[in-house]
C-alpha cells in the first residue's frame, strides 16, 4: 500500500504491518463516528471488515451496515502506563519530557472528555492557506482574530526547527484571538520567531528590544515575553506552553497580545490541543527528518528547537531497541536542545542512544567517541562513551534524569559537548 511505503502489488496476507494498520484504522473510525466527536456527523466513513477500502454512508439513510465488532480502544492512560520511559540519543537520539516528574503511572492521564475535543492549529498572519506539517498535522490559515495586521516574513526561514513554515507569517500589533472550543481542558502552544530585532536585524537591538504581554481569558499569562531572550537569538524559533486552558463562559478561548515597548506584539502560530490537568503533554522527539510511531501509537516528532550538530541517517540493526524506527537516524556533534516547557515544574529527561559508527569493523573499529551532557549548569554525563557503556556497538542504551527544572525563560537546555570525536 503506497501510503505505508508498500507497492500497489503488496500482499496483505503476508504484509502484517498493513494488516495491523488497517485494523487500527477501522477501530479508530468506528470509535470516532459512533462514540466519539463524530457521532453526530451526517456522513460516516468506515473500513469494511476484511477489505482495504473506505466506504461512505449517510447516517440517516439506513444504509449503514452493522458495525464491525470493535475492541475498545486503549485509553491514553493505558498508553502512558505501557510506555513509562523514553528517551534520546546522542549518537542516535530521541527525547521525552514529561511533567511533572516522576509519575510513572498517572492515575488520570487524560480527561474523560478529551477524546471528544478537537485540536486547533492556526498560522497567524497567513491568509493564503494552510498545510500539513511533517508529522501530518493540519495547520489552517489565520482565523478567529480581531485587530492587528497580517505580515509575511521576508527573511530566510528559521533553521532550528524541522518545519520552518510555521514562522513564515505572523500577526502583529495589538490584537486578540477568540477561538471557539468545546468545554474541556486544553494545552496551548504559541510559536514565535523574532526577525526584526537582534544582531543583523533591520532594527538592531536584541534582548529587551521588544516586550509584550499575553493574556488568556483576560488574565496575564506572560508579562512580559522577550522572544530574543527565550529562543535565544534573532531568527530562532521558540514556543511557550500553557496548561489547564479552557474556553470562557461564551465558549471561546480569548487570547490577548498587548504591546509593551517599543514595538508591536506578534505571534507566528497558535496550537490548541486536548490537554492533561496540571501536566504538560510529553515531548517526544526523534533525531530524524520524518516522524516515528512507537508500538503504543505515540508520535515521535522530528527533533526541533535544536541548534548545532548534524543529523544523519543510519541503517544498522540495534540490539535492545524498544522501537527500531527511532534508531534509523541520529544527531551527533556539538548541539543544544532548547526544550520549551511550562515554568515552575520539574521534568524527567530520557535519552536513548546507540553507537552506530565507532567500534564496527572498518577504519573506525578502534576509535571511540565520548561527550559531556550539561543541563542548567549541571554536568549530567562526563566523558560518556556510549560504546563502552552499552558493552559494544549497535546496542541500545538509555539514560534518565529526573528533577530537571527549566530556567527563568521557560526552557530546559540540553547541551551535548564532544570531548573525543
Amino acid at each position: 500500500m503506497e501510503a505505508l511505503g508498500r507497492p500497489a502489488t503488496f500482499d496483505p496476507k503476508t504484509d502484517s504491518i498493513v494488516r495491523v494498520e488497517i485494523r487500527k484504522l477501522r477501530m479508530t473510525l468506528d470509535e470516532h463516528f459512533h462514540r466519539g466527536a463524530g457521532k453526530d456527523q451526517p456522513i460516516i466513513l468506515r473500513v469494511p471488515k476484511g477489505e482495504y477500502r473506505l466506504e461512505a454512508f449517510r447516517r440517516d439513510s439506513g444504509t449503514e451496515p452493522p458495525q464491525a465488532a470493535v475492541r475498545p480502544a486503549l485509553s491514553r492512560t493505558a498508553l502512558l502506563i505501557a510506555l513509562p520511559v523514553l528517551a534520546a540519543i546522542a549518537a542516535t537520539l530521541w527525547i521525552l519530557f514529561r511533567a511533572p516528574e516522576p509519575q510513572l503511572e498517572p492515575v488520570q492521564a487524560q480527561p474523560a472528555t478529551a477524546a471528544a475535543l478537537s485540536s486547533v492549529r492556526i498560522l497567524a498572519g497567513n491568509l493564503t492557506g494552510g498545510f500539513s506539517d511533517s508529522a501530518g498535522r493540519q495547520w489552517d490559515s489565520d482565523r478567529f482574530f480581531e485587530g492587528g495586521l497580517a505580515a509575511a516574513q521576508a527573511e530566510p526561514a528559521v533553521t532550528n526547527v524541522d518545519d520552518p513554515r510555521l514562522y513564515l507569517f505572523h500577526r502583529e500589533g495589538q490584537f486578540q484571538y477568540h477561538i471557539p472550543l468545546k468545554p474541556g481542558l486544553y494545552e496551548l502552544r504559541l510559536y514565535f520567531a523574532e526577525f526584526l530585532y537582534g544582531q543583523g536585524g533591520a532594527a538592531g537591538g536584541g534582548e529587551v528590544s521588544r516586550l509584550f504581554r499575553i493574556t488568556i481569558n483576560g488574565e496575564a499569562a506572560i508579562d512580559p515575553l522577550d522572544v530574543v531572550a527565550a529562543a535565544p537569538g534573532r531568527g530562532v524559533a521558540m514556543r511557550r506552553v500553557f496548561l489547564n486552558v479552557a474556553p470562557a463562559a461564551d465558549g471561546k478561548l480569548h487570547l490577548g497580545f498587548q504591546m509593551l515597548r517599543p514595538d508591536k506584539a506578534f505571534v507566528n502560530a497558535i496550537e490548541v490541543v486536548p490537554g492533561l490537568k496540571d501536566r504538560m503533554l510529553p515531548i517526544r522527539m526523534v533525531a530524524a527528518p520524518q516522524p516515528a510511531t512507537d508500538m503504543e501509537g505515540n508520535l515521535w516528532e522530528p527533533d526541533s528547537f535544536v541548534i548545532g550538530g548534524r543529523r544523519e541517517a543510519r541503517s544498522r540493526t540495534i540490539d535492545g531497541a524498544p522501537v527500531p524506527s527511532l534508531f534509523q537516524s541520529e544527531r551527533f556533534g556539538h548541539f543544544t536542545y532548547h526544550l520549551h516547557v511550562v515554568p515552575g515544574r520539574r521534568y524527567r529527561l530520557n535519552l536513548w542512544m546507540a553507537e552506530q559508527y565507532f567500534g564496527f569493523p572498518g577504519p573506525a573499529a578502534k576509535r571511540r567517541r565520548s561527550f559531556d551532557l550539561y543541563v542548567a549548569g549541571k554536568t549530567l554525563l562526563k566523558e560518556f562513551d556510549p560504546l563502552r557503556e552499552a558493552g559494544g556497538p549497535g546496542r541500545a542504551l538509555r539514560r534518565s534524569f529526573s528533577g530537571l527544572r527549566p530556567d527563568g525563560l521557560g526552557a530546559i537546555r540540553v547541551q551535548f559537548v564532544p570531548s573525543v570525536n
Binding site: H32, I43, L299
Partner: protein, 53 residues
Amino acid sequence: MGGAPNPVSGGEIQEAVDHLERAGLFDRKPNQGRLFHHLAARLLRGETDATKE
C-alpha cells in the same frame, strides 16, 4: 466503485475527510493518517482495492 451503491457525493465525502482532519483524529497516529488519506483519495476517485484482508 465496487460493492453497494454509494449514495454519498464526492463533496460530502470530502467534507467528512476534512472533518476528521480538523478533529485531529490522526494527530498522534501518522501511519493511520497516511493510510486513511490514501484510501480516502481512492474513494474520491471512485477506485477500490479488491484485495481482501
